[in-house]
Amino acid sequence: MADTKAPVERPLSPHLQVYRLTLTMVMSIVHRITGAALYFGTLLLAWWLVAASYGPPAYADVEWFMGSIVGRLILFGYTWALIHHMLGGLRYLIWDTGHGFGPSEREWLVRANLIGSIGLTIILWVLGYLALGGPR
């Protein structure tokens, strides 16, 4: 035993790949991704407001872009990211109090987060289109 030259097989600390992917893990990174998306999305909001303060021609450019298919897709994604990040934030605030960590509770919370964000986004857009009287 003493004259063995083979390198010692030292244990490595486990990283992400050794864990079975769970919904709570996915929702954790989705929270971060939606946060980063909202971060850059504020440029659109700033553009919109600054254009509104400039006057009708600048504002018409924003309206044209937001009305295009690409613009609508970005706005739809932004709406979902905003609602998802907000509901996710509520989940983290609940967890900050030390509650909601049980196996069934945490699963319920992440599912409510996901279903709630998708549901609210669709409801908001349906109401928006109803208010506009259909796509323009």
Binding site: A36, L38, Y39, L45, L49, A52, M86, G89, D96
Partner: protein, 129 residues
């Protein structure tokens, strides 16, 4: 029983730590998160009320005091919150010290620029010219 030599190490480092800022960032992240909830709901309601409206109507609504106040609060709170959030992301993934410091500075400049642009636009819509 003063703070001097009798104090435990915890008392000396509390509010400091490696970043010399203690739990300040953590706390402000939560504070702005809580503020973001009503402000975001208000912002979304304002956006919905603007749907399909002409430029003069949009200008009038955005410039009315209550709407402008909610919008200003919304932008102050979200830009503060997003600056803290992005700083955590940078600190988690960027391990080169120089790049990290540069990105953290750029992050602050970005958040401040967005807040300034939005605030100025809202104030201009409110006060005219």
């Amino acid at each position: 029983m003063g703070i001097g030599r009798m104090s435990a190490p915890l008392a000396r480092v509390r509010g400091l730590g490696a970043a010399k800022a203690g739990t300040d960032a953590f706390w402000r992240q939560r504070l702005t998160a809580v503020a973001n909830i009503p402000l975001t709901i208000g912002f979304v309601l304002i956006l919905v009320s603007l749907l399909g409206r002409s430029y003069p109507a949009v200008k009038q609504i955005l410039g009315s005091p209550l709407v402008a106040i909610v919008m200003l609060g919304f932008f102050v709170s979200i830009t503060w919150h997003m600056r803290l959030g992005m700083q955590v992301i940078i600190e988690d993934y960027i391990h080169n010290e120089r790049i990290k410091i540069a990105l953290i500075m750029a992050n602050t400049f970005f958040a401040f620029a967005v807040a300034l642009a939005c605030a100025f636009a809202i104030l201009k819509l409110s006060f005219g010219v």
